[in-house]
């Protein structure tokens, strides 16, 4: 059984005439790289703000490291965060800014500053004032700040924004390294689907404050993969036929009326013929397979992203 790092139950946030979050349930397990996918204003940042204590939920509750209520704040030292844009003092250098937070958090080992700066490739500009940083450099400093206290959980809001392709690639490697070598659980939000897909192992699709789907990468791959969708009345019998008559094992039973076959060699016409010969009433057979973007669009139920 996976250890739960973060869990929300019926988390809602309402402003006067606007519901930012509507009964959000989500679970993040230890070791996850958990991706929040949603459009601008979907509620990604609001969830993060509630979790990190920047705002309060209107209703519902959440647990971090099995603590809830006021006890959550005792666990803050186990969390590293970057919410919205990276924010630092413009008149201080990158090193001085991180030293400020080291002093604030009571971190006595100042060598840690050089370690995190090296991790985000900012060593060369550590004595440059923050206000002279490019957006990408600011993002990386924000990530360095989040990692300053050797956290168990890192929460990053749109960390990829403003990074160039090489920066994105390096950051992706950094996330994997932190996750696999240091065992850090990471929550990342983004509206850049392809990038989030490249780093995360679990996803939360959210729109207009509502959770559309919580899904693992494997499940997402299956949902998006090119396949033959077969709709029939006797799924059990059809599965037997697929295995015994056609030697197909790469399939998945979706529900009582649907099977998806992922074996690319299978042709629809041949499949249809075999199923009919074995007395299976096929009501539909068609090819499927969508891009991440199309999958998200179908979840949101809109044409335009």
């Amino acid at each position: 059984m996976h250890e739960i790092v973060l869990q929300t139950k019926n988390l809602s946030k309402r402003y006067k005439n606007f519901t930012a979050l509507n009964h959000v349930d989500m679970t993040v397990y230890k070791g996850d790289i958990y991706g929040f996918i949603g459009r601008n204003g979907a509620g990604k940042t609001t969830i993060m703000k509630i979790i990190t204590g920047l705002t309060e939920a209107t209703s519902g509750e959440f647990e971090i490291f099995s603590k809830k209520g006021k006890a959550v704040f005792e666990e803050k030292k186990r969390m590293g965060c970057m919410i919205e844009n990276p924010a630092f003092f413009g008149n201080l250098t990158a090193y001085q800014n991180l030293k400020y937070y080291c002093l604030q958090k009571g971190i006595t080992n100042l060598e840690r500053i050089d370690e995190v700066l090296a991790l985000v490739q900012l060593t060369d500009v550590k004595n440059k004032k923050f206000r002279k940083f490019s957006l990408g450099m600011k993002q990386r400093l924000g990530i360095a700040f989040a990692m300053l206290d050797n956290p168990d959980l890192i929460i990053l809001d749109e960390p990829i924004n403003g990074l160039d392709p090489i920066g994105i690639s390096e950051l992706r490697e950094t996330f994997h390294k932190l996750n696999q070598e240091c065992g850090i659980t990471i929550i990342i939000s983004s509206h850049i689907l392809s990038e989030l897909y490249a780093v995360s192992n679990r996803f939360l699709f959210i729109d207009k404050g509502q959770v559309l789907k919580e899904i693992t990468k494997e499940e997402l791959d299956l949902e998006c993969m090119r396949c033959l969708v077969v709709k029939a009345d006797d799924i059990r019998h059809m599965a037997t036929v697929l295995e015994s008559k056609m030697n197909i094992s790469d399939y998945k039973v979706i529900d009582n009326n649907e099977i998806r076959i992922y074996d690319e060699k299978v042709k629809a016409t041949e499949l249809n013929k075999v199923l009919i010969q074995n007395d299976i009433n096929v009501s539909g057979i068609f090819e499927s397979g969508v891009s991440l973007e199309d999958y998200f669009k179908s979840l949101v139920g809109e044409v335009q992203l």
């Binding site: 204590g53 920047l54 803050k76 030292k77 008149n91 001085q96 937070y101 002093l103 958090k105 009571g106």
Partner: protein, 264 residues
């Protein structure tokens, strides 16, 4: 809280704000000492000043031996450096949005508010005390014994003025948490004292009513600071202290409540 204080001190002395406040003090006190006259911001109505001066000295006698305390009596001049202190300690955190970093990783909203309030009050105590002692020391060096009085009097004047100054700083802290944005904070805090004084002057100019002059000479901030520097009767001093502490308490409770409810 100690860690946050260490961090803030590190940051403050890396910036320029604190040095601007110190330069302001050095200039204001230095000019007053050299000119042997306490300058002041705000009111310049001679009739108004005469009324206060009469109330303080009784007969308007020569105050040259009390030069330092006459400078201390114009400690309303410190209002603007005190705005800088609140800005550097608090509003800079909002303007840079670094408050998010602190709240997400180091402390809760309540503790953050209490820390900032205490830090601003503590900073005020240090700042005003050093300012008064600096004035005393420079006066002693420049003007000699003739213009000097026992240092105990300086401490006593500082002590009597402190609650009201702390009260006004707690109000500035409340404004900081309320407005968050530096432009609004600066506009309101700078205008606050001017609006009050202009209003008072206007009322006096129109009515010429002694009742208003006496009322103002009693508890209006600038007037009260002036009177407290000259050791008024204990009833007046205690009342001023109560006003100062009540203001601190009110601003702390209101500010903490509003900040906890607000979104960062």
């Amino acid at each position: 809280m100690i860690n946050m204080m260490r961090a803030d001190l590190y940051r403050i002395f890396k910036g320029v704000g604190i040095y601007i406040a110190i330069i302001l003090i050095v200039l204001m006190s230095g000019i007053s000492i050299k000119m042997k006259d306490a300058g002041q911001l705000g009111r310049s109505d001679s009739a108004f000043d005469e009324a206060i001066s009469y109330e303080i000295t009784g007969d308007g006698s020569d105050e040259s031996s009390l030069l330092v305390r006459s400078i201390i009596s114009t400690n309303m001049n410190l209002y603007y450096p005190l705005i800088i202190i609140v800005f550097v300690l608090l509003v800079a955190d909002f303007s840079n949005k670094t408050i998010k970093n602190t709240l997400t990783s180091a402390t809760s909203k309540k503790k953050y508010f209490m820390y900032k309030m205490l830090m601003c009050l503590f900073g005020t105590i240090i700042f005003v005390t050093i300012s008064n002692l600096y004035t005393y020391a420079v006066n002693f060096i420049v003007n000699g014994k003739a213009y000097t009085e026992p240092i105990g009097n300086i401490f006593k004047a500082t002590f009597l003025q402190m609650p009201l100054l702390l009260g006004i700083v707690s109000f500035l802290v409340l404004l900081g948490f309320l407005f968050k944005k530096p432009a609004i904070f600066n506009a309101v805090s700078i205008c606050f004292v001017m609006v009050f004084q202009l209003l008072a002057q206007a009322v006096y100019a129109i009515t010429k009513a002694d009742v208003i002059v006496k009322f103002m000479s009693k508890y209006e901030l600038q007037t009260a600071l002036k009177k407290l520097a000259y050791f008024p009767d204990s009833k007046y001093a205690v009342t001023c202290m109560c006003i100062g502490f009540a203001e601190i308490l009110l601003c702390t409770m209101l500010g903490c409540f509003l900040f906890k409810k607000s979104e960062v």
